[in-house]
Subunit: 91 residues, 10 copies
């Protein structure tokens, strides 16, 4: 089941830089494992923003929730979710 | 070059039904030819809405503009465009 | 899978009254059959508005889309969808 | 009398973790006692958010206010309330 | 039980003037009977607007809904409702 | 002259509790003296919020401004003002 | 008593041109008589818009309401009102 | 050349009171010298807010920018600018 | 003096096509004469929209207003204006 | 390829002044080198704001992203991007 998710990341200016860098590394590892599993289908960087637009292919809402909650940078994110369907004009 | 485009389609209630159906057929033909050419990379239906979220891979802004302008249902659409980049965490 | 759906219905003032009444009857019949099937889990009237807040329990986004698209009054509706999960504090 | 209430919870990043955990436990205990009493009729987690959508069945506005005010996490919440009625199409 | 209700009235420019005037008379008769019954506690004109801000004292949400639905000008109104309580500092 | 005023009060989480409590007592004393003078005509609590909706009956804008400025909790408030008139349908 | 009023005028494209021109003449006559009386203190055109920003000096809200209601173009206007005071730094 | 400028002033609660008072004095001195020069044509207090609505009469955008930038309280302000013209109905 | 102007053009679906085409030709002629005079400094098409973003270099607000008012498609436009200055970092 | 970019800069009041001044110098150096290269085509100051409106001429979205990310003041900016095309009426 498909969802579009936009994540805008806003790390406070005074956050500890080492802690942030560790989280970014963890975020990348975590995100890539989900890409390999086929659940994080697409990820694009929004031009000029610290944000991404992604497509998830998950079993249900619950799985999507767990995936997002476990994002190492989740606490800094604003998240918008749009449920998607296959489009009838898709070849 | 990648762009996310959301198209919300709003056809007036009193529009001629035959004319609308012809335009929808033309829209499908046009959209599928662009999918085949690799320019209309992805298209998803937004759940519950007469709307789609799409990813375009075009040479430049000008090509994107011409593609959208030629949509048979363009006159009924509200269009939002978000420029995208490859994401550094993409595998 | 659970979704909250809010439907705001806006029928133009000059719409044919008989046609509208027929659609309202069809809407009720359709909605009640979905309630009986367990897919339209809850429906409440929003106080003071021609609108409802509903909870759907469907197999996936696609089923929700088909259910909404087939609403006899769909063309007059503005629809907002919020994906829901079981809440960990629910008894 | 029925109300939909959406609670979005936003705990500051630097809040003491032990204090927060205690409040979350108290929130769960409090919420479940209200569920058992029949006043907190439904509670769902909003997918991807630290938020819930709930239905309350209370005697009046005053009772709803007291219930919300006593939420252990109330000070961190943004609350939206929609008064609801039984829907005429409900089976 | 108390509610603040704001009604903004927007009658289309081409609406039949006699029909509108009849509705306005009916609106006044209806509103005044509700004022006499004590249910429509206060009504004020919003300066410069075709709108009012009112306070209703009703048994429950259902009664408020029925009162509003029966307003002769209801079909032209945008309605906002805010549930109210007695204020602890009120003398 | 009548005005509707909505006051939303937002006291920072780390504000000194004793200082806040003193201000709340002062706020109540001040508000009640204005109620007794007939200038603060009505005050209601907004259900579920730390906010009130009030009606003021003052000589002019200047008097309203001075009353609001002297609220002990003024610095924590967001204030919205709507000028009101007697309504022609009021009995 | 001072108020800022912004009037945005939106005349439908298909409105009868003679009727509109008559109303514009009447609007000018009416507005200038109010300027002469000292009630319509200032009027400025908003650059690029069919709109004005004005300052009124009236006895009370009721007088402002009657003045605005009698504008020949009132039915085409969106009106925003901001109550003003003398400023303590004014020389 | 005329501009309407609205300045909303928001001084953080923990700002040093002496420093703020000095700035307010400087603000008043600065503002009054501009009023005397004829550049700060009008200034009104927005009722109930720490805000003003002003009319400036300046040579060009650049002069307006320099005037605003030099406001002692500029760093605490949110500023909105509306370019204005003489109104054709002005007497 | 510099201004950014964004013009969004929205021609109703049922407008006479010949009349529209004539206006578009007139719009182009008019716009190009202003470009030649140096007043309409820049014009860009907004990708995917029937809209432009332009830079005007005019004597004052009044001249900008007259230029915009005389646009043959003015009646179909929504116009936003941002006053600009030379930037201190411009080479 | 052309983009309009608006940058609003918001430096916290308590930021170290020396650090900020260094960043501003670096920002100017960086911005001017991009102007010389032809990539930062235009830059204007928004009147009354710490903000600029700029036009970039870049190879693609990726280049625009890298340019913006490297702005010394990037962490303090809110950035809005509008893709642009050559306008067909441009002389």
């Amino acid at each position: 089941m498909l969802f579009q998710v936009r994540m805008d990341i806003n790390i406070p200016l005074n956050e500890d830089i080492n802690k942030v860098n560790e989280m970014k590394v963890a975020e990348k590892v975590y995100g890539q494992s989900l890409q390999r599993s086929g659940k994080w289908l697409h990820i694009w960087r929004v031009t000029g923003q610290y944000a991404n637009i992604s497509i998830f292919d998950v079993a249900d809402n619950e799985e999507l929730h767990q995936i997002l909650l476990n994002l190492p940078l989740y606490r800094y994110m604003t998240i918008e979710i749009v449920p998607l369907n296959q489009h009838p004009s898709k070849i």
